[in-house]
């Protein structure tokens, strides 16, 4: 019951007028960003992070978390109206959302998506509240060895479960970690990797600069290349009666939604898995568990409800390891983590002890954000329909401008702006040749932590490498990491053996 008291205190923080305004603004901005084809939560957080210097750190994080939430709701809007996922997390929503819109049931689909998102969000926030404090308590026993093992585990989940090419994933992790070492060596204080002797590199490569480059400039270039044809917008009109009808129609989807919510949360907790696979898995399970699986893909309302509840639940899930362990579960939470470090808040178990009002304020704001998101979402549907008709050139000009200004504002160096341009062009080329971007951003954020933990642990153990396996928690984590790393190898061996049998 202690949790409820802490949560109540948290509401005292999150329900202040400033935080409510910030939250509503964040949710609305997130909804628009999520609804725009090509832009998702990670782009929204990357582009808007520099704008949050205007408010205190706690409000800034609440704002960014609200953007994250709003974008998860918003992704469904263009999946349904345009047939193009507004963000990769809403891919599964197009399967049945688009057919529903074609049948003239766009309004119903939008309401189903919003309500399912609300259910997924709320269920997962309750799960989050239950798991957060115990997990943080457990993590208090962690020393540098465990921290290192945990970061290693986060990376190996990308190799084992990420689904991208293994060598390319590894390469991106190495590149991100190498970039994170630019600047001053944190143990000896000596400068290293100062390219071309440019003074700008002494302060290192900021995660924000890489994120704006990859998810701002890179994403605009990527979307221009991808959406050459002009998408057609389906119109949707929604009245109060449609709302009631929508909620009534969803009664058949309770099973799909609760399944999606719980599954989404736990998949979201895993680094590398995240909202996109969670939504696809929920869709698959809803279909295989349905009595009438043949309706799926032709406009089944469960086919919208399941993935939408799952992707919202997953976004909450990925906040759990970020806040309690300091290990982000997705690129978006990696940016939130980077932002918190910038404001002098170090995520991890100590945060629960040192800054309880901040932690519980943030957690309680997730409840409020869900309510705000579902209300704003349904109220503004006509506006979204209108906004989706905006030519993409206008959107790309605005985003590119925000990248330039947002990249300059934090450190006030043109050096960073040039880096953004460089990263953006490089990111486009890399994505085009199928290199995954998420491990790169995560590696840059986690790099300093990983190196510090490794070297601290070794200094503490006087150079004895066995410290990582002899400490129980660290040993177990390393064993899991090794197992995950071995998955692709085992898979390949099996495939080879099967191929031999075929001959």
């Amino acid at each position: 019951m202690e949790v409820l008291a802490l949560l109540a205190d948290g509401f005292a923080t999150s329900l202040t007028p400033l935080n409510l305004v910030v939250l509503t603004l964040g949710v609305t901005a997130g909804l628009f960003i999520g609804a725009m084809p090509g832009l998702g939560s990670v782009n929204g957080v990357a582009i808007l992070l520099p704008m949050t210097f205007i408010v205190p750190p706690a409000s800034a994080i609440i704002f960014l978390a609200a953007v994250y939430y709003g974008a998860m709701y918003g992704g469904a809007i263009s999946s349904i109206l345009l047939g193009i996922p507004g963000a990769s997390t809403a891919v599964a929503t197009t399967f049945d959302g688009r057919p529903m819109a074609m049948q003239g049931k766009a309004g119903l689909a939008l309401i189903a998506a919003a309500v399912a998102s609300f259910v997924g969000g709320t269920v997962s926030v309750i799960l989050f509240t239950i798991f957060a404090a115990p997990l943080a308590d457990m993590a208090l026993a962690f020393g540098p060895a465990e921290e290192f093992a945990l970061v290693l585990l986060a990376f190996t989940t990308f190799v084992g479960l990420g689904g991208d090419d293994v060598v390319k994933t590894l390469l991106m992790i190495f590149l991100g970690l190498a970039l994170s070492t630019v600047g001053l060596d944190l143990i000896s204080g000596q400068p290293r990797l100062i390219f071309f002797d440019l003074p700008g590199f002494y302060s290192g490569v900021s995660f924000l600069i890489l994120a704006i480059g990859v998810y701002g400039v890179g994403e605009v270039l990527w979307t221009i290349e991808e959406t050459r044809g002009k998408p057609s917008v389906m119109t949707a009109r929604i009245g109060f009666r449609d709302l009631i009808a929508g909620v009534r129609a969803l009664r058949g989807s309770v099973r799909a939604m609760s399944l999606g919510s719980v599954l989404g949360f736990f998949v979201g907790v895993l680094p590398a898995a995240g909202a996109t696979p969670a939504a696809l898995m929920a869709y698959g399970l809803a279909r295989s568990g349905s009595k009438t699986p043949e309706r799926f893909g032709k406009g089944a309302i469960e086919g919208v409800a399941a993935p939408e509840s799952a992707n919202n639940a997953a976004s909450t899930g990925s906040l759990l390891p970020m806040l309690t362990l300091g290990i982000p579960g997705s690129p978006t939470t990696a940016l939130l983590l980077g932002g918190m470090v910038m404001w002098g808040l170090t995520p991890g178990p100590m945060l629960f002890i040192e800054q309880p009002e901040f932690v519980w304020g943030l957690i309680s704001s997730l409840y409020t954000a869900n309510v705000a998101a579902v209300a704003v979402n349904i109220a503004l549907i006509p506006l979204f329909v209108w906004a989706l008709r905006m030519p993409f050139a206008v959107l790309s000009a605005v985003v590119l401008t925000l990248c330039v200004i947002g990249g300059y504002a934090p450190a006030q160096k043109m050096h960073d702006v040039w880096l953004i341009v460089g990263f953006g062009l490089a990111a486009f080329a890399l994505r085009k040749t199928e290199y995954p971007m998420a491990p790169l951003v995560l590696a840059l954020v986690l790099g300093p932590l990983m190196e510090k933990a490794l070297r601290q642990a070794l200094i503490g153990a006087q150079g004895d490498v066995t410290v990582f396996v002899t400490r129980p928690i660290s040993g177990v984590l390393i064993a899991i990491a090794a197992l995950l790393f071995a998955i692709p190898l085992i898979r390949r061996l099996r495939a080879r053996r099967a191929a031999r049998r075929m001959v």
Binding site: L170, L175, A178, P391, A393, A397, M414, A429, K432
Partner: protein, 165 residues
């Protein structure tokens, strides 16, 4: 597409070699009592990166020239113009910002891009550019007290500074 893949892998190999060359400035070996030196982390990570890039290069080189279902081109022909405008426009804007400041470069970019690439009306383009400029000035300069780069147009802003600060 195959050429693009080979080129990316080669570029990543070159980049990792460049990183390694920089990393050796600090000790990269293993100190008996304190573990790796300051250059070890970047050096061996870049070495790993080189290894991966080399594997990808060799793998792509040995693969059949055209794989089925893959686009034969790197950038779709019909998107080339717009891509070039976005990338080139961005580089030109940043370069112009260094000389003449954001209040010259950004509106020029926005009006040009929205009018000629987006084929929007002049009025739309000008309105969006004006809105952006006002947002930049009042949000960043007045509210956040972050001075944006102005290049040689700096003196023109003195009266505005006097008014708002």
């Amino acid at each position: 597409m195959r050429i693009a893949e080979l080129a990316t892998a080669a570029a990543l190999m070159a980049l990792s070699l460049y990183f390694m060359a920089h990393a050796v400035a600090l000790p990269i070996g293993w100190d008996e009592t304190s573990g790796p030196g300051g250059g070890a982390f970047p050096f061996w990570l870049s070495a790993g990166m080189f290894g991966c890039a080399a594997v990808i290069f060799v793998r792509t080189w040995r693969a059949a020239p055209v794989r089925e279902g893959r686009a034969p081109y790197f950038i779709h022909p019909s998107a080339r113009g717009q891509m070039l405008a976005a990338a080139g426009g961005l580089i030109a804007t940043v370069a112009l910002t260094m000389v003449a400041g954001v209040y010259v470069a950004i509106p020029l970019f926005m009006v040009g891009y929205i009018r000629f690439i987006g084929h929007a009306r002049w009025l739309t383009a000008l309105a969006i550019a004006l809105g952006t400029v006002l947002f930049m000035f009042f949000f960043f300069e007045v509210t956040l007290k972050i001075l944006l780069p102005k290049g040689f147009t700096e003196p023109l802003f003195y009266p505005l500074y006097a008014l708002f600060f």
